[in-house]
């Protein structure tokens, strides 16, 4: 068994939480190597080398990988992959973009969104928006696994792995990067935050979302949103929590004006404590909430913010 983890690095910046949790999932099977492919690797590789259970950090520094485009990344990886039995990546937009392409190139099925590594060939993963959990056994020689990182804790930074430069070949004549419009925020990252405050359709407008953001800032929380709120333009797409958005499992999840469609619950029901505020006492969100308050959010949320 030889295990490789693909570190998520965006334009030189390591997605530390996602990568560390992926290492944690992979390390249930043994020591791992981590591939650090980006346009700038020095900071990222230093951080990865400290992650417990990492043996080697393979550094592939090239402008080609700045945006982790699927074609350049997978072409280059094919050679490196040959000596591994398992390749893990976070189940983020990075991992979901790249791993299945590698699978297509090598004729290997991908095992997406793994919530539990049971053995070297057996894994658990949610299906039907988390309404069922499937145990699957892979017969492929190479296992390609994307990890639902909210199910794992980050590894401690007590390791000291070797850093090795590796060579790169490959190019990308198919796609070119044009631009990124990334949300910048001082708030914690949604998928790793200890507290998340989310708003739904009930919030009513983009301006009203400031109520949600105000409470989030008071609590040092990340801001999330339901699909209904994102579709209505109240919140940006990268705030969406749910089956097709981000999956979160914070210590505290505060759902405001969210009815609780199964697709939303799929993204947050593993939170430790769920608090729901909704004026409709029949809202399904109360079926999963530990504490509920039936009240008008426009009255309740500012008052809560004041009292905390």
């Amino acid at each position: 068994m030889k295990i490789l983890v693909l570190a998520e690095i965006n334009n030189g910046e390591l997605a530390e939480d996602q990568t560390s949790k992926t290492v944690s999932a992979a390390a249930t099977l043994g020591k791992v190597d981590v591939l650090c492919a980006s346009n700038q690797c020095s900071d990222a590789s230093t951080n990865i080398a400290k992650m417990e259970n990492v043996e080697n950090v393979l550094v592939l520094e090239n402008e080609l990988f700045a945006q982790s485009l699927a074609e350049s990344y997978s072409e280059t990886l094919i050679d490196t992959l040959k000596s591994y039995s398992h390749v893990f990546a976070p189940s983020s937009s990075f991992g979901k973009n790249i791993l299945p392409r590698i699978g297509g190139m090598l004729d290997v099925m991908v095992i997406s969104d793994v919530s539990k590594v049971i053995s070297e060939d057996t894994f658990e993963r949610p299906v039907y928006a988390g309404n069922a959990i499937q145990t699957v056994q892979s017969i492929d020689k190479l296992k390609l696994i994307s990890v639902r990182t909210s199910n794992y804790s980050a590894v401690p930074s007590t390791g000291s792995a070797n850093i090795k430069k590796i060579d790169c070949k490959g190019n990308n004549s198919l796609t070119t990067f044009v631009e990124n419009k990334m949300q910048t925020s001082d708030r914690p990252e949604l998928t790793s935050a200890k507290v998340v405050v989310s708003g739904g359709r009930g919030v009513g407008s983009k301006e009203n979302f400031e109520i949600i953001e105000g409470l989030a800032d008071k609590l040092g929380a990340a801001v999330g949103a339901s699909r209904a709120a994102v579709d209505s333009g109240f919140a940006p797409n990268d705030w969406q929590v749910g089956q097709t958005g981000k999956v979160v499992a914070p210590d505290l999840y505060v759902a405001v004006g969210i009815s609780g469609a199964i697709q939303h619950l799929a993204g947050m029901k593993d939170s430790k404590v769920i608090v729901a505020i909704n004026k409709d006492e029949e809202a399904p969100i109360f079926q999963v909430a530990d504490f509920g308050l039936v009240d008008d959010l426009f009255k309740a949320v500012p008052e809560i913010e004041k009292k905390i």
């Binding site: 928006a129 796609t175 631009e179 990268d238």
Partner: protein, 252 residues
């Protein structure tokens, strides 16, 4: 140009999935089945591209059981020009894996020669999010996943992608495989006259063997179980109680 749109028949979006008592899977007998919502968005986009004069023909493909022809009739009623049904199994519980689906679609693509294949980013049943990427790799075409905006510029597609930190725009050379995200468009409903017209549109039926593809299963499903359920908790009486609960659990 031609556009190929694969459409999957899945348990309807509004129906709650029930795990079979023997743990062998989800019960799909006598439940409402519909077109995968992401595939509807892909098809809608194909129709809009055609309406703008940037495509001549839209071919819808569905892979699964004989009844998938209902899904294809819906696609034809929305605006696809013709349909291909690949009968890959006779049991609706037998989900065809994305890798096999990609092999079948690659074989059809080589025959039909589309410039663009528009896929839903994931099926809401198995939630794999893999077919478009695998297909793109098999064809060695360019790949643009999670599209929220697509602009056709001669032989280049400018695609805005929904990624974790926000939005990323890339240019993809055609032929290309694009997977679509929720916010690309809102699919139309088929009108009654179009539903009637769809009955006369061509629907061809083929077997995987005709396409030179073997149905394989790389992931054996050992068990399907209900997730751990959460108990409904307390409904609090006032804001002060809620403030107390929030404070107990912040940083705890």
């Amino acid at each position: 140009m031609k556009i190929l749109v694969p459409v999957k028949r899945v348990l309807d979006y509004n129906v709650k999935a029930r795990v079979k008592a023997d743990g062998s899977g989800i019960d799909l007998a006598n439940v409402k089945m519909s077109m995968n919502p992401f595939d509807e968005i892909a098809l809608e986009e194909a129709i809009r591209i055609k309406e703008k004069g940037n495509a001549e023909e839209i071919i819808a493909v569905s892979i699964g059981v004989q009844q998938n022809q209902e899904t294809l009739r819906t696609a034809l009623a929305m605006g696809a020009d013709r349909a291909i049904l690949v009968v890959a199994t006779d049991d609706v519980h037998n989900d065809i894996e994305p890798l096999t689906v990609a092999n079948i679609l690659a074989s059809i693509a080589l025959k039909e020669g589309p410039s663009l294949i528009l896929c839903g980013k994931q099926a809401i049943d198995n939630d794999f999010n893999a077919t478009a990427q695998m297909l793109s790799a098999k064809l060695k075409w360019s790949q643009a996943t999670f599209a929220s905006e697509i602009d056709v510029k001669e032989d280049i597609l400018r695609v805005t992608r929904e990624v974790d930190g926000g939005l990323q725009t890339i240019d993809a050379k055609m032929p290309a495989v694009v997977s679509v995200d929720l916010r690309l468009n809102e699919p139309r409903y088929a009108s009654l006259p179009n539903i009637m017209k769809a009955k006369r549109k061509p629907l061809e039926e083929v077997n995987p063997a005709d396409l030179g593809v073997e149905i394989t299963q790389r992931l054996k499903v050992i068990k399907t179980k209900e997730p751990d359920s959460r108990e409904a908790g307390l409904i609090l009486e006032n804001i002060d109680q809620l403030v107390e609960k929030i404070q107990e659990n912040v940083g705890g």
